[in-house]
């Protein structure tokens, strides 16, 4: 049928436009900051090691931008997977407490064990994400879990876990210092070590998540319908939870808990792609880093001479949008 072909063309073109947008934001993120760079200087900074821009680009802007790309893709994809899995268009790993679980584990590791690097944090973050995912599922009713009960369980765990993180930081001044930026959600401390540490986890999570697009499409029709189509609901759920844990754990370990990106982007993207995850997931993976990097650049401009943490910017931008979405439903 011709209309179908045309629609595939439109969706592919849209994804291409999204990629162009991503390139533009990436360039902006390398150029904008305390020292403003022109396009030519960005280019020099990237390719010619001797130039004066090179140090700024290589040591600060490039790792920060790469981390923004990775974390953004991770948060957007995790949000889209979570929304598909819980059949709840407003689900989000942040709202379900998964990011808070990763944060609490990192805070504990910092205060009690003196862990102070992303390389150490990531394992605790993954562990915290897994524990909370299981806990939310159990508190939310196990096999009888409904979107509402899951959301309530997530909200409750969120409150408990963030109080815990605050308590840890109040009791231990050294951790407070190390974690102050981190708990707000920030890309500012990124270096190449951070990027290299989290990249394998995020890339693995993206692959597992994207491979789940078709089975999740089948599962969206109900468990019996999915089984009748030849998909295994238990296997699909396990794979999706694995992907979400990898993505959220790694993103949180690297930049702290960043809210609303994983919620808003997939929700807005659904208006463009419809509920087909074969399109929804790639769109979310491309457009979420656009939002995250865009917010980071905005934070650098608005906060001059210092900067606003990206987590603050997404919260300020995302909060009202989220309320509007809830009110419209």
């Amino acid at each position: 049928m011709a209309p179908d072909r045309r629609r595939v063309g439109v969706r592919a073109a849209g994804l291409g436009a999204g990629l162009l947008l991503l390139v533009a934001v990436t360039v902006l993120s390398i150029a904008v900051g305390a020292k403003q760079l022109t396009l030519a200087e960005v280019w020099h900074g990237l390719v010619s090691p001797g130039s004066p821009e090179h140090a700024v680009v290589q040591q600060m802007r490039l790792p920060r931008t790469l981390l923004g790309l990775l974390a953004g893709a991770a948060l957007g994809t995790a949000g889209a997977l979570m929304q598909a899995l819980t059949r709840n268009p407003l689900a989000d790993p942040g709202l379900l407490g998964i990011n808070a679980g990763a944060s609490a584990a990192v805070a504990t590791a910092t205060a009690l064990l003196g862990v102070a690097t992303v390389r150490g944090w990531i394992w605790f973050a993954l562990l915290g994400a897994v524990v909370v995912t299981v806990a939310v599922h159990a508190v939310g009713g196990g096999r009888q879990a409904t979107p509402e009960r899951l959301a309530l369980a997530g909200a409750a765990l969120n409150a408990v876990l963030y109080s815990f993180v605050s308590a840890v930081m109040l009791l231990d001044a050294a951790s407070l210092d190390r974690l102050r930026f981190w708990t707000v959600g920030s890309l500012a401390t990124a270096d190449f070590t951070t990027v290299a540490t989290v990249a394998p986890f995020i890339l693995a999570g993206l692959l597992v998540g994207l491979a789940g697009a078709r089975p999740l499409n089948a599962l969206a029709l109900g468990d019996d319908a999915a089984r009748a189509l030849g998909a295994s609901p238990a296997l699909v759920r396990a794979g999706t939870v694995t992907a979400v844990t990898l993505l959220c754990g790694a993103a949180t370990a690297a930049c702290g808990p960043i809210v609303f990106v994983g919620l808003l982007v997939p929700h807005l993207v659904r208006a463009l792609t419809g509920p087909d995850l074969r399109w929804l997931l790639p769109y979310a993976a491309v457009l979420a880093p656009v939002l995250l990097l865009g917010a980071d650049v905005l934070g650098r401009v608005l906060g001059r001479p210092g900067e606003l943490q990206v987590g603050l910017v997404t919260a300020v931008l995302g909060g009202p949008l989220f309320l509007r979405l809830v009110a419209r439903r």
């Binding site: 049928m1 209309p3 179908d4 059949r87 268009p89 491979a211 078709r214 499409n217 089948a218 969206a220 029709l221 109900g222 468990d223 019996d224 319908a225 089984r227 009748a228 189509l229 030849g230 998909a231 295994s232 659904r270 419809g274 509920p275 087909d276």
Partner: protein, 271 residues
């Protein structure tokens, strides 16, 4: 009678609640088999067992002579389709997209959408009369249209056996007839074997070519509805005293419940 699908000595249970014990059934090939019985008699459970969505705690379900639980999911899904009682249409999905999801067992990571898929989806929509609705969101359709779309999805799966769990529930009477006529057409014109769970005895007797009557997890009677549906059977299965007359349209048995004593004649009081 040959049979590609059936179950031998099945015990069917949810958690610890046993619904049926030592149940043996065979679905005749190229039949339109209808399973009837009172609420909670195990008819939907039987259908779920035959569809491989519920695993018997004892006994085997056989598909083409093999234990269905030793077969690969995809292989089963290419032979046997199911229209579940409760299915969910994702918010905002269009008719064409929903029907296309029936192609799942024919696709893979390396074998994505093909012209064959496109042809089958178009044929399935044409067979169920939903081609004009292709671009519409499923949420906006009437109950009858929506049920035809779900049947189209099951057809797109291209299985020679199709199981339908209460396909007429929640539909008004005209849409019930429409869905049953559609099933009959799929059975007669495309030679598919259909198994449906129905509530309405009249519908069962009129459309089925083979009837399985169940009560308390047992098969009470099975066979051609013209021979099986008797006043004694309806009394035994449903506990309903009735007379059987001939359906003036089709000559099939029509169940007429007996009036309560004292209400045989006279005006019906208003209120």
């Amino acid at each position: 009678m040959t049979s590609r699908l059936g179950g031998v000595g099945m015990t069917l249970a949810y958690e610890r609640r046993v619904v049926a014990r030592d149940l043996t059934v065979a679905v005749p090939d190229r039949s339109f088999t209808v399973v009837i019985g009172p609420n909670a008699c195990g008819k939907s459970t039987l259908l779920r067992a035959l569809a491989r969505t519920l695993r018997p705690t004892a006994g085997t379900v056989l598909l083409d002579g093999r234990d269905i639980h030793t077969m690969r999911s995809r292989e089963v899904a290419r032979t046997l389709g199911l229209l579940p009682q409760s299915s969910v249409a994702p918010e905002g999905i269009t008719v064409a997209d929903l029907v296309a999801r029936g192609r799942y067992p024919h696709q893979g990571l390396l074998r994505q959408w093909s012209t064959e898929d496109e042809r089958v989806v178009a044929e399935s929509m044409a067979a169920t009369g939903v081609t004009e609705l292709a671009a519409r969101p499923v949420d906006e359709l009437s109950g009858g249209q929506r049920q035809r779309v779900w049947i189209a999805m099951a057809l797109a799966q291209q299985t020679s056996l199709l199981l339908l769990d209460e396909p007429t529930t929640y539909l008004d009477v005209a849409h019930q007839i429409e869905v049953l006529d559609l099933c009959a057409r799929l059975h007669e014109e495309q030679g598919r074997t259909l198994v449906a769970v129905l509530h309405d005895l009249h519908h069962a007797a009129r459309w089925a070519t083979h009837l399985i009557a169940m009560r308390d997890g047992r098969v009470v009677a099975q066979g051609d509805p013209r021979e099986v549906v008797t006043a004694a059977l309806v009394e035994e299965v449903f506990g309903l005293p009735c007379r059987i007359v001939e359906d003036p349209e089709t000559g099939t048995p029509l169940v007429v419940p007996r009036a309560r004593r004292g209400r045989q004649s006279g005006p019906v009081s208003a209120g």
